[in-house]
Symmetry: C2
Subunit: 498 residues, 2 copies
């Protein structure tokens, strides 16, 4: 039975959406076959969730000599990080894909696993599509990649950006709720603050796009304090976070990509854990029995002294806990919703926009896709345009057919890159809102009043239950780097407690 | 087996917290005995949740000749409505207890079950406790029950109240997101709006107290649009809602109480349903199999053509659905958190404050309890002071011992009513945040950006799954009356679909 649930090349990579890139080759069955029977295992630590956070925690716990079982709901590892197969034999990335400066922990992890990085394609001009007009603009001028809007808007935007960065320096990343102005910043939406500060419409537009691009949520949904925390978290212990590092490609969070696709990192990490990783095992209940926890998943129950829950808070809330979680932890998990996000990837024989002097990056005020990237492979053997579908735009299309979404996306791509964009050789759509084990993405965010009242419950263990996941990270919260950091932090926490 | 899970006098009334007032006398066992085995039933409709919404739906479905099974997680019916036993043989109410004008549907239901009402004690003066000063004030003057604050504050408060009521008339209760100014009102917190309008501190104080009293949430947590909707909903089809009807005792939502306690209504309603109501049966999954749903609870699975989920949205999200719920419904349920609420009832030999000319109602700016009511029985055979513990105050005490809460409550009661209040004969505490099948109360509320984006998903059925619960009601949303209305509405919806 144990062998049947081991990590398998097939199950790691999933079904129709799989790519054939894994370096591991273990045997195994699919998740559905396993859920009919019930296996029992014992370990020092049960880890719930086989994304980067859970796998990193498991790695560190195993390195310290502890026994670990990782229970992953899906038939693949990686959580919000996934490679998707293309019809042309290539692959693309349906979830987190970029890595940038100060993201030291995902970099160290990738290095240790032999996963290299390459620069995101960034040669040529960006495009601004606004008020029906398409304007290419250089990214290497004095203004960096600030789009060509009116001078008053630019001045306003620069001032607002500087103000946000300055306010963010006043927010301790490990306890945003202790900022001197935490209450003031947590009692208003980011929208309210932007309307008072980004008073020139073109400047407001830039921050709206930045907000939906970063959070996959509209400014009206977010607490100002959460936005400031998130900016502060876009750095590391020696480098303060800035808004620019969140939004930029060069020298920003979108600077580099992973050779073989970002899911190579969790796949290779899981391979080092062997049959400690159990796929197709959604955890339904965590029950304290004497001094041990019974962690019951479909098909398998793990008995463990400690439990690491490495899920986004709204999903962690769907597990049945006995004893109940403390009220503040439960209510926190009712108050951190997932953003609304999809990625649409259109594949072409060539990255034809490059010949037009374009880098494939768009900022737009219209359509279903309002920001894009050139997601072609490093050898440019084919072209791929990746578009984010975010917040209001994603919600409007969550229930639409793939063909309907495709038509809307290609209409936008044609406006941005010309008629050639209308005829991709293939099209891939990943809608995280519709994934049962995500129900949104890329990350859970805090509306007003949440961080100041519930922040301390984010990382505080509940008995022997410890919390990980990128939402618990002090740096690069919401990113792959934050997930890895949270796994490293929680492993230390558990080791100290064991 | 079926007999073993029937409604029982013992299980309806719960364990230690039970009152012995039920008019029903059926036999049965406790929930825990039943959960070890798995029973199977078939019905036209499975109802999830045995609160007023689910029971009302079941009543109407049965009346139309349909077969129904109601699955209730607790070992009693009533949900957020519960009678609590007192040491002196009496009882008090731990959840919803009041009924007022325009709450026609709970009134009709209570009438049909022979549950009478009586006037909430409201003779004598209210108390304002503010800035360390205790000021009795009359409730029958020109100003109604407006506390004695400075004239500028009163004028400001009156203007703000009139403005809120006027804005509320612009919010359609069946679709707040269609209000002409829905976007403007949904992009800001109630706190932001109050700071711009309730500019006199004493006026702001009154609205803060009103807000926490109504929603058990702070103004910074709520969307302005949600507040306006809630005001609009405090009426019926012929009587527009007003803020005053939410806050007042005389002619307001706190005007009357139920003889025998509010739980008499669901208890007697459940009795008419007999063994259709199954207690101790928390539903874990709802799975479509062919044209029928398998509704799996601990110990019992019901196969049904239609399902009514009559739970608060954040709890409905904890059920595993197959097929998955539509994204908008799932994300809605991530975005409607429960308020934070407790009730503290101190019992005395007599309602001694009445002799001091006080009606037992306090509005305070300090302490754990900031609003109180005289909860003595109609014959005043003993005295009971009930205090609400709400929002920030409840959260601060969610993890405290009952003794710690009791000490804090009695300190407040002594400030308000004198030293006699320090020595109750008994003390009862109900903390809804700590209840596994509530995790907060009295109702789920909408932060900014939720109603405009997700409102339509509140009542839209997902295949054969229909939604009830007070959160889905157009009138008296959040109240017992709204729960009954939602049950009546959903029964019609299901009957039309069957």
């Amino acid at each position: 039975m144990a062998r049947e649930r081991q990590l398998s090349r097939r199950s790691i990579l999933g079904g129709a959406a799989a790519t054939g890139l894994a370096g591991v080759a273990l045997t195994g069955t699919t998740a559905s076959a396993a859920s009919a029977a019930r296996e029992a295992r014992e370990a020092d630590v049960a880890v719930v969730g086989g994304g980067l956070a859970g796998l990193t925690a498991a790695r560190d716990l195993v390195a310290a000599g502890r026994s670990v079982v990782v229970l992953e709901a899906r038939d693949r590892v990686g959580g919000r990080v996934v490679n998707l197969k293309l019809a042309n034999g290539g692959f693309t990335e349906g979830g987190g894909e970029f890595i940038g400066p100060t993201q030291d922990r995902i970099k160290a992890l990738a290095d240790s696993l032999g996963v290299a990085t390459f620069a995101t394609y960034n040669t040529g001009k960006n495009l601004l599509y606004k008020d029906g007009t398409r304007t290419p603009y250089a990214t290497d001028g004095l203004l960096g990649s600030v789009p060509p809007i009116d001078v008053a808007g630019l001045a306003n935007a620069a001032a607002v950006q500087a103000l946000l960065d300055d306010m963010a320096t006043k927010v301790p990343v490990d306890a945003p709720w202790t900022a001197a102005k935490a209450e003031e910043w947590d009692r208003q939406t980011f929208e309210t603050w932007l309307r008072a500060n980004a008073v020139i419409p073109s400047a407001k537009f830039l921050f709206d796009v930045a907000c939906t691009s970063i959070f996959s949520a509209q400014p009206r949904e977010l607490s100002l304090l959460h936005v400031l925390f998130y900016i502060a978290a876009a750095g590391n212990a020696s480098t303060p976070g800035t808004l620019e590092r969140l939004t930029e490609t060069a020298a920003g969070a979108q600077e580099n990509r992973f050779v073989g696709g970002s899911q190579q990192v969790p796949i290779k990490l899981a391979a080092t854990l062997g049959d400690r990783v159990v796929l197709g095992a959604p955890v339904r209940s965590i029950t304290l029995s004497g001094s041990k926890y019974l962690v019951a998943a479909d098909g398998i129950t793990v008995t463990a002294r400690r439990v690491v829950v490495a899920l986004p808070p709204p999903l962690a809330a769907r597990i049945t806990y006995d004893p109940l979680l403390p009220a503040d932890r439960d209510q926190l998990s009712q108050r951190l919703p997932m953003g609304s996000i999809g990625k649409a990837i259109a594949v072409y024989d060539t990255p034809f926009w490059r010949a037009d002097g374009l880098n494939g990056q768009v900022v737009s005020d219209t359509g279903i896709v309002r920001s894009t990237f050139d997601n072609s492979p490093p050898d440019a053997s084919y072209g791929a345009l990746m578009g984010f579908i975010e917040a209001d735009e994603m919600r409007a299309f969550d229930a639409s057919s793939v063909d309907e979404v495709k038509a809307a996306v290609l209409k936008d791509y044609a406006l941005y890159f010309g008629d050639k964009a209308k005829s991709p050789t293939s099209f891939v759509l990943q809608r995280w809102d519709n994934e049962g084990f995500s129900r949104g993405g890329p990350v859970a965010y805090a509306p007003p009043g949440v961080l100041t009242e519930y922040g301390p419950a984010l990382r505080r263990p509940a008995g022997g239950i410890h919390w990980a996941g990128t939402e618990t990270s002090t740096y690069w919260n919401g990113y792959m780097d934050g997930a890895v950091r949270s796994g490293e932090r929680v492993a230390k926490e558990v080791l100290a407690a064991l």
